[in-house]
Amino acid sequence: MKKTGAKIFKEVNVVDCGSQTDRKISMEEKAPTIPKRRQELLKWNGWGYKDSKFIVNKDEHVEFTGDRYKLSGHVMPSLREWMIKTIGISLDHRVQSQPELTAADIPAPIKNEAFLHDLRNARISHSDDSQDRLFRAHGHTLHEVFILREGRFSRIPDLVVWPTSHDEVIKVVELACKHNTVIIPFGGGTSVSNAIECPKHETRMITSLDTSQMNKILWIDEKNMTAHCEAGIIGQDLERRLDEKGFCTGHEPDSMEFSSLGGWVATRASGMKKNVYGNIEDLIIHLKMVTPRGVIEKSCQVPRMSSGPDIHHFMLGSEGTLGVVTEVTLKIRPVPTCKKYGSIVFPNFEQGVDCLREIAKQRCAPASIRLMDNEQFQFGHALKPDTSTLFSSFVDGIKKLYITKIKGFDLTKIAVATLLFEGTSDEVASQEKRVYEIAANFGGLPGGEENGERGYMLTFVIAYIRDLGFEYYVVAESFETSVPWDRVLDLCRNVKDRLHRECKDRGIQFPSFATCRVTQTYDSGACVYFYFAFNYRGLTNPVKVYEEIEASARDEILANGGSISHHHGGEYL
C-alpha cells in the first residue's frame, strides 16, 4: 500500500446522530489472549499454540498434546492406520522442519531513517527485531508454511508497528505517505490468500502495521444492539468479553481463535452460524478505514441507507490494498439460552445435498448445518479419541448395527450432516423437529449429538493436523467456493475427480485424499469446502506440484459454475 499526496476524503468526525451516552456500556480494558510478542505463545512454523500439536507417541499412536482443546491429551488409536491407508504415509519416512530461523537467516531490514525518526517522535511502538518481523511475514498458505519449514523468505517486513488507536494509525499512514514507505496491515496472521506476503521486488521500506494492540471494545449500545470495537480484537476475545455482558456477535469463522475483526472485514469473512447472525457484511453497522488519502466512514450508524453505492462494500474484501480498518460497529445479539448439537446420517451424499437444499428452501436452517461427504466422515471417525466410555461405544455399536443392518446404509457411502441449533429451548426443540422431519423425507436418520459435536471440533483441529502431515511428506490445503444449488453435486464430484486425476497425471505414487463438505447454505446456493492432501515422497518440488494441482482444481470449480472463493479471499489467487 503505497501512497503519497493530499487527502481527498475529508476527515469526517462522527456526527452525533442522536446517540445518548447513558445507554452505552463502556468496557474495561483486558489483555488480549495473543500477546504482542506472538512468538511467546504461537508456533513459529505451523498453526496455533506451541503447546498443542499432533505427535506420534512412543507407542506409534497419534496423540494431541496440551490441554486447550477437548481432544488435548488424548490418543486417537485409529488415526495412524487411516493415514497409512488413505494417503499412504509410512512411519519410517519422516521429514523434520528446519531449525528455527535466526536473524542471520532473515533479510536485513531496509531502513528509512527519516520515517523511523518521525515514528519515534510520535511515540508509536515499533520494532525491527527479526522474530517480530518474521512472525508478520506470512499467512498460512501451504506455500508460506513450507518456506518456514524448508526455506528462506526473500523479502519480509522491515519494521513492525503497533499503533494503539485509530489516531495512531492515522499518524503511521501519514508518515508512510510522507516518507514513501509501504504499509501492509496485519491482524491475526491467519490469511490464506497470500495477502500479507511482501512483494519480492519492493525496494522501499515495508512496515507491517500490526493492529493487535487495538483490541478494545469501546462501548456496547444495548438499545440499538450494537458494539463498537477496535479492529485488532481477535474473535475469541470479542466473543468472550461480549459474553460476560450477555451478548454475542455470533460471528464464528473457523479461525476465530486467532483472526481479527479487521481481518474479517478485509477478507469478507463468513462465520459458521451465519444462518442466524449473517456474514460479516450483514453484521457491520459502521466502519472506519484509514486510507493514504484520509479516513473513510459513514456519518451515521443506521441499519440501512440509500444514498449512492454503499462505501462499506469496497472496504469489505479489499484485503489491505485500500487502507487499514481501525474501528467497527457490529450488531450484537443476546447470548442464546440453549445450544444443541445434532447430526443426520444420509444413505449418500446426493440425498444429503437434496435435503440441505430443501431446508434452505424452507428457510428453516439451524444456526449451522454442514454436510460432510463420506471421506470426511471416515476422517472424522479416525479422529475419535480413545476415551469414549464403555457406555458411549456401546451406544455406537447399537447405532451402527441399526444403520447398517436394519436401514441398509453402506458405511462407505453414507454422508453425515452436523447441526448446531441456537435459541430458547422451545425454539431449539421446534427447529429440531422440523429439520429432522425434512431429513426423513430424504432418507436421513438422526445420528446423535456426539457425532455433531465431533464434526465441529474437527474443523478446529484439522488446521493442526496439517503440521503432522508435513512430518510425513504430506502436503495439505483447503479451498472453498460458492456455487448455485443445481451445480453443487456435479461440482463436488468433478473437482474431487480432477484432483485425483491431476495427482495421477503428475506421477504421485500414493493415493491422494480429497474430500468436501457443504458448509453453508443460502437460498440460491451453497458454500463448498474442500480438503486436499497428497503424499509427495519422491517429488522434488511438492509446493509447485501442489499449486499446479490447486490451480487446475480452481479451473474446474469455475468451469462448474463456482466462484473463486466464498470467504477465504482471493485478491491474490
Binding site: D486, R487, L558, A559
Partner: protein, 698 residues
C-alpha cells in the same frame, strides 16, 4: 541337459502349425464358442463393472427421469405457450416420443439373443478378432468415466457384433442409437430394443419436444453412466466402404454434459469393424446403381436367410485408444460460459461446435487408421485397373508390391506371415469366387454379378448394369484401401499430368488444395490440416515413391513419374472422371452457353439424369469406368460443388432446387481436364446424349 534348454518352454516351434487364435494383438472370440456349450455361455453369471458414480436404474426409471427432467418440463411449457395445446396433450406427446425412442435393455432378452446370435455368427463367420489391449483399456475406463463408443458403420452386423463383444467380455452392454428403419419390423424392433437399441428419427428439425426428449434421454444416460452409449458418427451404413463425412448432432448431444460440467470427463472410443466380406455387398451394389433398397421388414430378413450357407470370413474389431474430451478441449474451451444460464436451456457455443466437428473428423480418421486391410482389398485394387483380366503370376507380383506400399503408409494389412503370397492370394480369390473367374490358363477376371432377388427382371437383363455391378462390387473392396493413398494421389495426379519439366511446390500445393476441396465429400480430410497433410505426403513420397525435388523446391517431373506415382493416379482417376462428367452434365443444362441461367432442378433429379448420361456414355464406349454410375459418387460431386459455391441452392416452397453457375462449373471442368484424361466430347454432344437417353426412357 535337455530340460535346461529354453526350448522346453516352446510348445510349438513351427509357426505354420499354430492356430490363428491369436495374432498381432488380436484374439479370436469365436474359437471358445466352438468348443464349449453355447447354452451355458448364455446363462452364465456375468461379473460386470460399471461407472463409479452410477446409480443403478432400469429402463423404466430412465424414462421417468427424462419425463421429470427440467429440460423436458421446460420444453413442455414452451410448447403449451406457443402452440396452445393442453398440458395433457403435450405430456402425451412426450410420452409417445419417449416410447418410440427408448430402449428396454434387459439381460434376459440379451441372453436369448446371444444364444441365437452365436449360432448364426458361427455359421457366417470364421473368426471374430478383437484387439485385447483395447478391451483392457475399456475395462478400466468404464469404471472411471462415461464412455462413448463410436464404431465405423459398414453393415447391419456392426450393431450385433459390438453387443456380442461386450457380452463376451463381461462389459456393460451398450445402448445404441439406431435409425428408425428397424423400428417397423415386427419382433425385430422389440428384440433390438430389448438388447439396448434406442431409435432416433433421422431428422426432427425444430420439433422442440423431440429435441428436448432426445437430448435428455441421451444425456441422462451419459451422465449416470447407465451403460456405454454407442452411435455411428457416419450417421448411416457406408454403402461404399469409404468413410462418410461425420454427422455431429448425436456427438453434440452426448458430449454436451462435459461442457456443462455434468460429468468430470467423457471418453470417446473410436472403433473400427473391418470385414473380409460384407454381408450386404450385393444389396449395396444395386443400391449404388439406383435400385432401391428393400424396406427393412421381418419377412425380408427371413428371405435373406439363404446367406446363412455362405462364408463371410473374418471380422476384425479394433478399439482405438480412447480420446478424453477433457484433454481434447484443454486450452481451447472455457466451460464457465455455461454458468450464466440454466444448463437445460442454453445450447453449445460456436467454439464448442467447431471443436466437436474437429473431434468427429479425428474419430473417423482414427477409425481409418485402425482399419484392417484384407488381402482381397489389395487384389481388388489391382483388378480394378486390369478390367480385361490378369495373369495370376502378375497379380501376385502387383499385390505384393501394393501390400508393401500400404504398409509403408502405416496401414495394417491382414497378411498371414507364415503363408506364401501365392497361397494367400489364391485362397482369397477362391473365397471371393462369387465375383471372379479363374480360367484354366490362370487368368483372373471379374465376372458379372447377378442382382438380388427384389430387382425386377428388366433391369437384371441389362448387361451394362451387370457389368457396372461387377465393377461397383469390386470397388467396394478397393475402397477399403483408398483412405491410405488418397493424399498421395492428390500429389501424384498433378505431377503425372504436368506438361512442364518442373513443377513448383507452391503450384503443386495449389492443385493439391483444389483436389482436397473438390473431393472433400468423397474422402475424409480434417479441416484446417491441408498444409500439414501435404507436407507429410511430400516427405513420404520422397522416401517411398520416388518423388524428386530439386534444391529450388521444384518437383522434377521426368524423374518423378514412375510405376508408383502412376498406379496411385490411376487408382483415383474414376473419381475425377466422374466429377468431370457431372460438370459436363451441369453445363449441358444451359446448352453450353456459359452466360445462360440453366433450369433449376432438384438434387435427386440431377443425380438420376447424370446417371442416365453416364449410361449413355458407357453404351457408346466413350468412357469405360463403369463405377462412375454409382449414385453415391454423383451425389458427392453435386454436394461438393454446392459446398464450393458452384451450385447454388434455392428453396422453393418445400423443396431445395440446385442451380449451377455455368462459368464456375466450366472452370472446375477445365481444371479437372488439366489433371486427367477425359473423352474429347463436346458439351453439345452431351446435350444430345441427354435428350437421347430421356427419350429412350420414354
Amino acid at each position: 541337459m535337455e530340460s535346461q534348454s529354453r526350448n522346453v518352454w516352446i510348445k510349438e516351434g513351427d509357426p505354420s502349425k499354430l492356430g490363428a487364435l491369436y495374432k498381432d494383438g488380436y484374439e479370436d472370440i469365436l474359437e471358445e464358442r466352438r468348443h464349449t456349450s453355447d447354452f451355458r455361455w448364455c446363462t452364465r453369471s456375468r461379473n460386470v463393472q460399471f461407472y463409479q458414480y452410477r446409480h443403478p436404474r432400469n429402463p423404466k426409471q430412465i424414462k421417468d427421469s427424462v419425463l421429470s427432467s427440467d429440460r423436458v418440463q421446460y420444453a413442455i411449457e414452451q410448447v403449451i405457450q406457443e402452440s396452445g395445446t393442453t398440458p395433457e396433450e403435450t405430456e402425451n406427446q412426450v410420452h409417445s416420443i419417449l416410447d418410440e425412442m427408448a430402449h428396454n435393455l434387459n439381460l434376459s432378452s440379451v441372453r436369448c439373443l446371444a444364444y441365437v446370435l452365436t449360432k448364426i455368427i458361427k455359421r457366417l463367420y470364421r473368426r471374430i478378432y478383437v484387439n485385447e489391449e483395447g478391451i483392457d483399456t475399456v475395462r478400466t475406463l468404464i469404471k472411471e468415466y462415461p464412455v462413448l463408443l463410436m464404431p465405423s458403420h459398414r453393415s447391419y452386423t456392426d450393431f450385433l457384433v459390438m453387443s456380442y463383444l461386450f457380452y463376451h467380455y463381461d462389459l456393460p452392454l451398450p445402448v445404441i442409437a439406431a435409425a428408425m428403419d428397424f423400428m417397423g419390423m415386427k419382433f425385430v424392433g422389440t428384440l433390438l430394443r430389448n438388447c439396448g437399441a434406442f431409435f432416433i428419427r433421422r431428422s426432427f428439425g425444430s420439433d422442440k419436444l423431440y429435441w428436448a426428449v432426445f437430448t435428455e434421454y441421451v444425456q441422462t444416460q451419459m451422465c449416470n453412466g447407465d451403460a456405454p452409449v454407442e452411435f455411428y458418427v457416419e450417421g448411416t451404413r457406408s454403402r461404399t466402404s469409404k468413410s462418410l463425412s461425420p454427422k455431429i448432432g448425436m456427438l453434440k448431444a452426448s458430449l454436451e454434459p462435459y461442457f456443462k460440467a455434468h460429468c468430470p470427463d467423457i471418453m470417446v472410443i473410436p472403433i473400427t469393424v473391418s470385414y473380409d466380406r460384407i454381408l450386404e455387398e450385393n444389396l449395396y451394389t444395386y443400391e449404388l446403381l439406383g435400385v432401391p433398397k428393400p424396406k427393412e421388414s421381418t419377412s425380408g430378413l427371413l428371405k435373406a436367410r439363404s446367406i446363412l450357407s455362405e462364408d463371410f470370413g473374418n471380422i476384425h474389431i479394433c478399439l482405438a485408444p480412447p480420446i478424453s474430451i477433457r484433454t481434447f478441449s484443454e486450452g481451447k474451451i472455457n466451460r464457465h460460459i455455461h454458468s450464466l444460464s440454466p444448463r437445460y436451456i442454453a445450447s453449445l457455443t460456436k467454439d464448442e461446435e467447431v471443436l466437436l466437428k474437429d473431434l468427429a473428423f479425428v474419430v473417423i480418421l482414427t477409425q481409418q487408421k485402425h482399419a484392417v486391410i484384407s488381402p482381397w482389398a489389395l487384389i481388388a485394387s489391382v483388378l480394378m485397373q486390369k478390367t480385361n483380366g490378369v495373369q495370376f503370376e502378375e497379380l501376385v507380383k502387383d499385390v505384393e508390391w501394393l501390400k508393401r506400399q500400404a504398409s509403408n503408409c502405416g496401414a495394417y494389412v491382414d497378411w498371414p506371415g507364415n503363408e506364401s503370397p501365392e497361397h494367400v492370394i489364391r485362397t482369397r480369390l477362391l473365397f471371393h469366387s462369387n465375383k471372379l473367374t479363374i480360367s484354366d490358363e490362370d487368368l483372373v477376371e471379374l465376372k458379372q454379378i447377378s442382382p438380388p432377388s427384389h430387382v425386377d427382371n428388366k433391369t437384371s437383363k441389362d448387361t451394362i448394369i451387370s457389368t457396372a455391378a461387377m465393377h461397383v462390387m469390386t470397388s467396394l473392396y478397393r475402397n477399403q484401401l483408398l483412405h491410405v493413398f488418397v493424399r498421395i494421389a492428390m500429389v501424384t495426379i498433378p505431377v503425372n499430368s504436368c506438361l512442364q519439366e518442373t513443377l513448383s511446390i507452391n503450384s503443386l500445393f495449389e492443385q493439391y488444395t483444389f483436389l482436397e476441396t473438390i473431393l472433400s465429400r468423397e474422402f475424409i480430410f480434417q479441416p484446417g490440416k491441408t498444409r500439414e497433410d501435404f507436407n507429410k505426403v511430400l516427405v513420404l513420397l520422397q522416401h517411398a515413391g520416388g518423388l524428386v525435388i530439386d534444391e529450388e523446391r521444384n518437383i522434377k517431373i521426368k524423374q518423378s513419374v514412375n510405376k508408383y506415382t502412376t498406379f496411385m493416379s490411376i487408382m483415383f482417376k474414376p473419381f475425377l472422371l466422374g466429377y468431370w462428367v457431372v460438370c459436363q452434365y451441369l453445363l449441358s443444362l444451359a446448352g453450353g452457353n456459359l452466360d445462360a441461367r440453366p433450369l433449376a432442378r432438384k438434387a435427386k433429379q440431377m443425380r438420376i439424369e447424370t446417371q442416365q448420361l453416364i449410361l449413355g456414355l458407357l453404351s457408346e464406349g466413350i468412357i469405360k469406368h463403369y463405377e462412375i454410375l454409382s449414385l453415391d459418387l454423383i451425389g458427392n460431386a453435386l454436394d461438393s460443388l454446392v459446398d464450393m459455391g458452384v451450385i447454388s441452392r434455392e428453396k422453393r416452397i418445400q423443396d431445395i432446387y440446385f442451380v449451377p453457375q455455368c462459368a464456375k462449373v466450366s472452370r472446375i471442368a477445365a481444371k479437372i481436364e488439366s489433371m486427367t484424361e477425359v473423352p474429347a466430347t463436346h458439351i453439345t454432344d452431351f446435350s444430345t446424349f441427354i435428350i437421347r437417353t430421356v427419350t429412350a426412357k420414354l
